[in-house]
Assembly symmetry: D2
Homo-oligomer: 339 residues x 4
């Protein structure tokens, strides 16, 4: 059986999930729904994805712009086994999916409460097997879980403090700023800490967020108090065996997020994406045996994409074993930098 997957919302995440689904052999793109007849809509058609409008009104807007649609979101939902919802937060399509009798996956813009089940392939794949609705947490949250979950498993984590220096907007956007300012998130903790706990409920974590004028990656400064003493080497050794965590090195000329994205482009992947969380090998330090410091960079546009593919497999029960799903996904997307 090939699972029929609909993608509702064809922006930064939606178009990547569509391409990633298309790259699997156990699922296919039933169609994508989009609100604007812009260049991205035209490229979707060029790629062979059936294009749907969220409703009849929008469909006529598409028609006027000379862009053909295959029907409305309702039609698409009925024809699909599962919808990956990549619309802006609180778009409110849950009842439509319920009515259509289709499974659904939401992104991190939504609250955990919408599904009461949040997904991370390494942490809780099995828990989500066969579920009706699930949510994949945001890029930052997924990035934190990727490195913290194995640390907790191997050394035990007493507490985590993460200061996240966030890119202000994505590369394809030219409206949002700031151009020349640093903006702290004054509320504390930022929503990311509780969001990590939606997957790792026992983790003691406090997060702080600061927005800066760059488009390409988030940078996390993470401070972890470990239960068991560990060296930097031991920590790196744990991450080395973990999927979707890549190593970079200042010594190799990777001094900033600019060189990480340059490296990603050199890897010739689709859209020059970096699905892995990049950890600076020479930025890992342990003080007094138990206090660990590290820097990691998160490609906000793509790190959740493999998680979405795995979440589809879990919900559709296409694969019972999370590790096997991750391996399949990673191979299809070219993930696996030599560490």
């Amino acid at each position: 059986m090939t699972a029929k997957i609909a993608i509702n919302g064809y922006g930064t995440i939606g178009k990547r999930v569509a391409d990633a689904v298309a790259a699997q052999d156990d699922m296919r793109v039933a169609g994508v729904a989009k609100t604007k007849p812009d260049f991205e809509a035209k490229l979707a058609i060029r790629k062979g994805y059936p294009l749907y409008a969220p409703n009849a009104d929008v469909a006529s807007k598409f028609e006027k712009a000379g862009v053909k649609t295959a029907g409305t979101l309702e039609d698409l939902a009925k024809a699909a086994d599962l919808v990956v919802d990549c619309t802006p937060e609180e778009s409110g399509y849950k009842s439509l999916y319920e009515k259509a009798g289709v499974k659904a996956i939401w992104q991190g813009g939504e609250d955990h409460g919408l599904t009461n089940l949040s997904f991370n392939a390494a942490a809780n794949y099995e828990e989500c097997l066969g579920a009706r609705f699930v949510r994949v947490p945001s890029c930052n949250t997924t990035g934190l879980i990727r490195t913290l979950y194995p640390l907790d498993a191997h050394f035990g984590v007493v507490s985590v403090l993460a200061v996240m220096v966030r890119r202000a907007t994505d590369p394809g956007d030219s409206k949002k700023g700031p151009i020349n300012a640093i903006e702290p998130e004054l509320e504390m903790p930022s929503h990311h800490g509780p969001d990590v706990q939606s997957v790792l409920p026992k983790l003691n974590i406090h997060t702080i967020a600061v927005k800066v004028p760059t488009t390409i990656m988030h940078l996390h400064t993470v401070i972890v108090d470990l239960k068991k003493a560990a060296s930097a080497e031991a920590v790196l050794d744990v991450w080395k065996r973990v999927p979707r965590v890549a190593f970079v090195s200042g010594g190799d000329g990777v001094r900033s997020t600019a060189q990480i994205m340059e490296m990603a482009r050199d890897l010739s992947r689709n859209r020059a994406d970096l699905y892995e969380i990049a950890v600076w090998r020479d930025g890992v330090h342990v003080v007094d045996g138990k206090r660990l410091f590290y820097f990691q960079a998160v490609h906000q546009e793509s790190d959740v994409v493999p998680e979405n593919v795995d979440a589809i497999r879990a919900l559709m029960e296409l694969q019972k074993d999370g590790r096997k799903s991750m391996e399949k996904t990673d191979q299809s997307l070219g993930i696996g930098i030599v560490k």
Copy 2:
């Protein structure tokens, strides 16, 4: 016969030329030479390109860094039929190539005087057939030639004024600025005008350059006084039939260089490059019948890459017909957006 191509200099242009050569069936990468054992060197090896050091001193530096080299540049030049020199300007390798009896292509950082022959596939391919040494002009110059040459051929050009708003550095660099300033090039004309004339000696052109804090594309504002009156539609119609000129549209949501590069990423090409010059369809205006205004954006990292492949073919006489070379190159690189 498969031409053996060496690439000397493996930075922004060199690594792209290497990948483009590797994508052809009438040439292959004999090896690449690089000065630093950084992440780019490691990725070159990963791609299977034999890695050479410019000299024995650098070779030992590579060895210390644990990066294996296949020999020195001299060895590489002897083993190759042609060297594409992508080193920084005035690196001075000409005598080495002469001694090795190898053909060579330089990039736009060098003066026209180094070769007395500058290349553009559409404009003077045949003139360069079998030449020993040739130079491919810079990204900006190539961009201007791409749209001006067909205009001159169809309508006649009285004079050109181009104001080039230049990106300050490439995306992979994190050292250069400015962060928050606009910097005019006070000398006039900027070097680009005379550089266009190295290929189109009769074109009356004046260029002005201004540097701005962005990394992703140059934007040209071009004002052309035509000999024959023409409408905007007639001008677009000429460009429509010309290779390596793509159309974008503000009406499709492509308002800035950000959306052009986003579109390039969506095309799933290597490194998300855009080899074409992008012209805004709804930014072409004709005033009083003969004064043409247009905006074009130039992807500084990649627009010269197909020209280098064609230049190899011309020098090696792998193909006598320039149009056929261009077609072959374009097909191999995925060039050819629906206009």
Copy 3:
């Protein structure tokens, strides 16, 4: 008699006009009206400006925030001789001013049609004497008039082409972008050309605008076809004798707008403003005797401030001679860099 001046709108321009009015001896600040009880409102009170709310609703919002207001805009308008309207475009207060029987000055965001009279101190002061309503054109338009008007007077201008590389937002804003893109204004001519003609109706001018990721200044590349031949020295000599045009020089280390604003800060003026248009002395070139090229930088936040002060004097007939008004204004604001 000291003219009582109200300022409606206390943002970038409004607060500067208030301070400039306060620095004159023939007018005083009757009050300022503002819509938000933010830090700028608190600083207005600290400066001793009576603070008004646009209406009773907003007044109660101020009260809740603990910021005292002296009344509503209507009260202020009645108590004043003239209102300088610095509200966002199309705020629609004209009928309120008419009802209050008060004179008014608008800024460049409004259309010329609102007043049918646009003001520039050097160009048409006398024409505006005693007028009821007038409009001061925008920063870019004022900048163009400052250098073009004397050129036309001395050499005659056949035609002007100006390519304006515009800052995307002001330094105090952190919401707007782009962060990393160049955005051309696809419609042509940009509104600036016709706007210059609102003051200089016979000037043949075409303007083109491009937006870039900087906050500090606009940069104009201006190309002028002169009637009479002139040397660069002769052109500089004309501007030397003109008020509100300053010279900078790449040779002195002023390579970009960053150094111009640094120089402005070093001049110890209020808010580090630069009321003058800065022309690069070594960026002025004449080709073939009659085609003039020059670069000028415009401090978008402040260049219209002295024009507003002069416009007040013209409307209130505090001074019949425009040159004398300009001298008085310039002295009070510290204008007059050694050229």
Copy 4:
């Protein structure tokens, strides 16, 4: 007695120290020394500061550029009581000052070891009375001391963790980047922690630095484990009584460093500087009674300026009481925002 103060190095810090010295009644500017005859040199002369060249060679370079010098640095040092050295780090003038028998103050680019005495007006003024040589730590270090010293005095500090999001270069510079990247300082701790200990040797502090594409301020995220439990209000109450710490508020519309610098400009101070450390009132949080979080912004160009003035007074023994010196300095510079 009016102390004769020389300033060696007339860049970002030097020119501000000169103006601040000129604003005092117990000291005066004996002269400033500068290496380049650029616009800043010309403005120094305009301000009436005698201009010196570091040596005879540079003096002749100035002469050629038409900029008059009053002699060499040696002459200046002999004529002065004290030199404030604002040259780039490791410029190596110590022996010249020793030979000239003059006192000297260095900036934070130098190591503590150069003087074995580092200065902060609030923390150790009295310790530095009459000293020959002293060093004022850098902007970031001074910023941390300003808020941490009073916290330690009132509540006791167990440990401090500061993540500093640093501006990449100053506003007047247009060469340095990055334009679009985040760059972590991989070595740990960053030099700032030990630097704070040069003044507060017993403070347990770890610092982490990340560089971002902005020019206007550093932003510190500070996490402090207190000995005695305290509320956010109690902490704010301590800082309220401390000089050179200002409060800003997101609720007042100060969301980012852009609005802080806008506020600074609205205060009409020299160069629109903000000598105070700005703490977000609504960004102060206490968790579990003893863990304090706060954000502070540092105007890197000016926060050390008042410290330099006080250091002069301490070394010259113009005032024995540090608090009185601070008051005098602050009044002369307009410091003292209503909190």
